[in-house]
């Protein structure tokens, strides 16, 4: 007889209570088949979270399978908490990106903070010491008060967690677009470093081995968080606030230190973070990977308050928790280790030779589920996509007032300085940060070596909307450009797929075509996918968000000392690398002048992309060129404005292009800074840097500003929006 008042099996079936938890009628039927009986309340909850999109990838699995996940440098591909690549000397870089979009929409501070905490635990659970954090953020335009509130909350939340735990935030990228009005994207990435031979897997093997719970006491926070993350935001989402977890970076720090100490113990069999779907996913996934069963005695779980039921315990997403499997007889050693770090820990169960996950509370059995079907047999949905008709728009921006376009874009938060955000993140704790957020990828030296890891996050959703297939390629290529611009050789990547509802045929088409393009680019650019995350059902009040795959890439700089003293100055020349074409679909000038994104083919040649990138990388590490700045949003004009503002250097360039081409956004182009008269492939020397003044001459237009004016627009882009009291 249950000690907790819960709906009966009949009630769950007849009143369709499973539907409230996110299971469809068919899925409920499948659960009954697997169990060969009706599920009880606890079991229904467990299936609903494990089969949520967030945990099971039921709409995205077929697409993820296209991604190449093997390569010369890959040590561990997708399937674990994070992926790992070889960085030489027996060391590995471990990394992953993850979304926390829905929680951040309703509770920006905690949503963002726990996003950071969760991705850190993923890295730590592999055994790596985190060396850098990155974030990719999307908000609606800052003219909206709610978007300003979200920006404030998300920024404070990321800093609140990352600063406290002591991991530098080393790079990021931010875009403001009406598409994200009320549905911000918060993607967090963490990179760690470790020895190859210590890589841990989340596995439960060896009947009789003990299951240890460590970390914060379980509370009722975050129940059904994974399910919440897998549905559309709407008016009622505000009531989901209790589904948002609460971060505790102090405990997170202690847990990180204790976990890294535990990983050095030979008796450790496996370890996994209790992230989405908490105890449910960690226990069932570990058992499934170890081809074992597991029995848990839930009355032994450390609890924050009395009366928490097995159902609530299994679905709670209380943060800062780890699940360990250790050899029988070694339990006390681990309990002592966690106690020494000031953390709760308890033996809550054991690995069994059966194939079942059994949950007891005192004497009563609350769940008895076969492990493999729960974790591996989630339904997979293959839907029909629908390709919308392309637009036959003709662009005639040459008639526009391009000086006005320049001012409007350069003063827009998307193009302006992000110091408002980045100055709230500790970028230098650890004393190995070679390049901070602000202009380009993050670079962190590997302590005790001359090596450095470069890491970048990037996304170009308007390109993906314009042309999902080629846009998908471009997102990967853009991140590749960021990596080679540091002098690093790309080693691998991680992806976060943020899209609208896959049940909408056009969104499904975006998902399938863009992932196909991304997969091709991964292969062509030598950056296999080692980890990833999917976030669907991102819908603003009126429409789906733009298709927003975000790519995190990691590269290796073999000797970072080449950067020491490599600074640009007013005697240097400016080069434009790569041909400019009239590519405006998905561009910022199109957003500004037409307030739309047209569906038109974009073009990218991946072979050129790769060879040009690797060529420039070689020139940089040989110090033959001083700086590489890849072109992206806003084209040549915006990159020059950012470059001048960031470095407080003027410039005077003349480019043999139409004025509108200054804002074109075709792929595979760079601005390069080097001494005058250098021979650089596919490059044209377009002018000089200077001490003051800012002049760009095209065939039919001249943009001439003082350096102070350009810098002021750049620096003030976000602060000028944030002055109003909301």
């Amino acid at each position: 007889m249950s000690k907790f008042i819960e709906p009966s099996m009949e009630h769950i079936r007849n009143e369709k209570l499973y539907a409230e938890m996110g299971l469809t009628d068919d899925e409920y039927g499948r659960v009954v088949e697997i169990l060969e009986r009706d599920p009880n309340y606890t079991e229904t909850g467990i299936f609903s979270v494990m089969w949520s999109e967030h945990c099971s990838y039921k709409h995205s699995k077929p697409f993820l399978k296209q991604f190449p996940s093997e390569g010369a440098h890959v040590l561990m591909g997708p399937g674990e908490g994070a992926g790992a690549v070889d960085i030489g000397d027996g060391q590995a870089a471990v990394f992953k990106v993850e979304s926390h979009n829905h929680p951040s929409a309703v509770e920006p501070y905690q949503g963002a903070a726990t996003g950071v905490g969760g991705i850190i635990r993923d890295i730590v659970s592999i055994g790596a010491r985190p060396i850098g954090l990155l974030n990719s953020l999307r908000f609606g335009e800052l003219s909206g008060a709610n978007n300003r509130r979200l920006l404030r909350g998300v920024t404070a939340g990321i800093g609140g967690y990352g600063n406290s735990i002591g991991i530098p935030t080393v790079s990021g990228e931010v875009e403001f677009d009406p598409s994200y009005d009320g549905n911000p994207l918060v993607n967090a990435m963490c990179v760690g470093v470790m020895e190859h031979d210590k890589i841990q897997k989340g596995t439960a093997r060896g009947a009789g081995n003990k299951v240890i719970y460590a970390g914060l006491k379980t509370g009722r926070d975050g129940i059904h968080g994974a399910t919440f993350a897998s549905e559309e935001l709407n008016e009622a989402s505000e009531s989901r606030r209790p589904s948002v977890q609460i971060g505790d970076p102090f405990t997170g720090k202690k847990l990180m230190d204790a976990t890294l100490a535990a990983i050095d113990q030979p008796e450790l069999v496996g370890i996994q973070d209790m992230g989405a779907a908490g105890l449910t996913s960690s226990s069932s996934e570990m058992a499934a990977k170890g081809e074992s069963g597991m029995t848990l005695y839930l009355d032994r779980v450390p609890l924050r308050e009395d009366g928490i039921s097995p159902y609530e315990m299994m679905l709670s997403e209380t943060q800062e928790r780890m699940l360990l499997v250790v050899e029988e007889g070694s339990e006390q050693k681990f309990l002592d280790l966690f106690e020494d770090h000031g953390l709760d820990a308890a033996v809550i169960g054991e690995v069994t030779g059966s194939d079942r996950l059994c949950l007891y509370y005192e004497e009563d059995l609350y769940a008895d589920i076969p492990v493999q079907p729960l974790s591996e047999e989630a339904p997979v949905y293959i839907l029909e996509g629908q390709q919308p008709a392309p637009d036959d728009k003709i662009y005639e921006y040459s008639r526009a007032d391009l000086n006005q376009v320049f001012d409007a874009l350069s003063g827009h938060p998307t193009h302006g300085s992000k110091d408002y955000i980045y100055e709230q993140f500790d970028a230098q704790v650890g004393a190995n940060t070679v390049q901070k957020p602000g202009f380009g990828s993050g670079i962190v030296r590997v302590e005790g070596t001359d090596k450095a890891v470069a890491a970048a996050l990037d996304g170009k959703s308007r390109y993906v909307y314009a042309d999902p297939y080629n846009g998908g390629k471009e997102v990967v290529a853009q991140t590749f450009r960021s990596i080679i611009s540091t002098g690093a050789k790309p080693l691998g990547m991680t992806d976060c797929l943020n899209y609208g509802s896959p049940e909408n045929p056009e969104i499904y088409h975006q998902l399938s075509e863009s992932t196909r393009g991304m997969a091709e680019a991964c292969t062509a650019l030598s950056a296999p996918v080692v980890s990833g995350n999917v976030s669907l059902y991102n819908e603003n009040r009126t429409d789906s968000i733009l298709p927003s795959p975000v790519i995190g890439m990691v590269g290796l700089i073999e000797d970072v000392n080449f950067m020491d003293g490599l600074t640009i100055n007013s005697k240097d020349a400016v080069y434009l690398v790569g041909a400019t074409t009239k590519s405006f679909a998905g561009s910022q000038i199109e957003k500004l002048l037409d307030n739309e994104t047209s569906r038109q083919l974009r073009y990218i040649d991946l072979e050129t992309e790769y060879s040009r990138g690797m060529y420039l990388r070689g020139k940089l590490t040989a110090r033959e060129i001083k700086k590489i700045a890849p072109l992206g949003r806003g084209g040549i004009a915006m990159k020059l404005a950012q470059l001048a503002s960031f470095h407080h250097l003027g410039l005077d360039v003349e480019i043999d292009l139409d004025g509108e081409d200054l804002f074109a956004e075709n792929a595979s182009r760079y601005i390069v800074i080097a001494q005058p008269g250098m021979d650089i492939q596919d490059a044209v020397e377009i002018g000089r840097l200077s001490d003051d003044g800012f002049t760009i001459k095209a065939r039919d237009v001249t943009i001439e500003r003082t350096l102070a004016a350009v810098t002021e627009a750049w620096e003030g882009a976000i602060p000028k929006c944030m002055t109003s009291v909301d």
Binding site: A156, D426, V429
Partner: protein, 222 residues
């Protein structure tokens, strides 16, 4: 010179400080917050971070940790004590330095490379610098506004206790104060992070002279 680097739960600059002391030529070892003696150490380094989460008030919990009385004793013995960031907050919390650190005026965390001025080079910590030398040290704090009343401020000025000031005040600190020493000149607290400014590759090596001064000079004992 052998330094104790105090480690509280939640400290996160401990490793950087240990590395800095060693890089400058000194010896250093971690000392747990539960220790009650610092015998055998010639000086104390209190690192940055968020001791005990700093959920209550920065430095409040650390102030009542067992190691506090050992730190007081070291101060009494005229050993050099340097507190950085959270370490500065702890030193004011336990009364080894006057004043307090309160929330930044803008109420947001601030992290950037800060231009500062060594306004007193006549201390055992700053002798390696020229008087009024400008230096770049990173700052990274949410509660870095140095606050004190008028009477305390006048004493600070009179006793020449103000050592480091901001050239562009990032947090609203009184009279741009970034770092002060006690009246005996052996306890130094500052918000900026010189331990992160030891290499030009990382943006600045202006912190090196501080640690060299602290580690390479012998005989500070009474």
């Amino acid at each position: 010179m052998k330094y104790a680097v105090i480690r509280y739960p939640g400290s996160n600059g401990d490793r950087d400080l240990l590395n800095a002391a060693r890089k400058a030529g000194g010896e250093a070892a971690y000392v747990d917050y539960r220790e009650t003696t610092l015998d055998g150490y010639d000086g104390v380094l209190i690192p940055g971070g968020f001791s005990f989460g700093d959920y209550l008030r920065s430095g409040a919990m650390a102030g009542v940790a067992p190691v506090t009385q050992a730190i007081r004793q070291a101060a009494d013995e005229n050993k050099p004590i340097l507190g950085i960031c959270n370490g500065f907050q702890i030193l004011t919390e336990i009364g080894l330095l006057p004043g307090a650190l309160i929330f930044n005026d803008q109420h947001t965390f601030v992290s950037r490379n800060e231009s500062l001025k060594i306004v007193n080079n006549n201390t055992r910590f700053t002798r390696g610098y020229a008087q009024n030398e400008d230096v770049i040290y990173p700052v990274a704090h949410g509660e870095g506004h140095y606050y004190c009343d008028d009477e305390t401020y006048e004493k600070l000025v009179k006793n020449n206790q103000i050592v480091l000031t901001y050239n562009e005040n990032p947090n609203g600190s009184r009279n741009d104060i970034a770092g002060i020493v006690n009246t005996s000149g052996n306890v130094f607290g500052m918000m900026p992070h010189p331990e992160r400014a030891l290499e030009t590759l990382l943006g600045s090596d202006d912190g090196m002279k501080l640690f060299e001064e602290m580690t390479q000079r012998e005989v500070y004992h009474v």
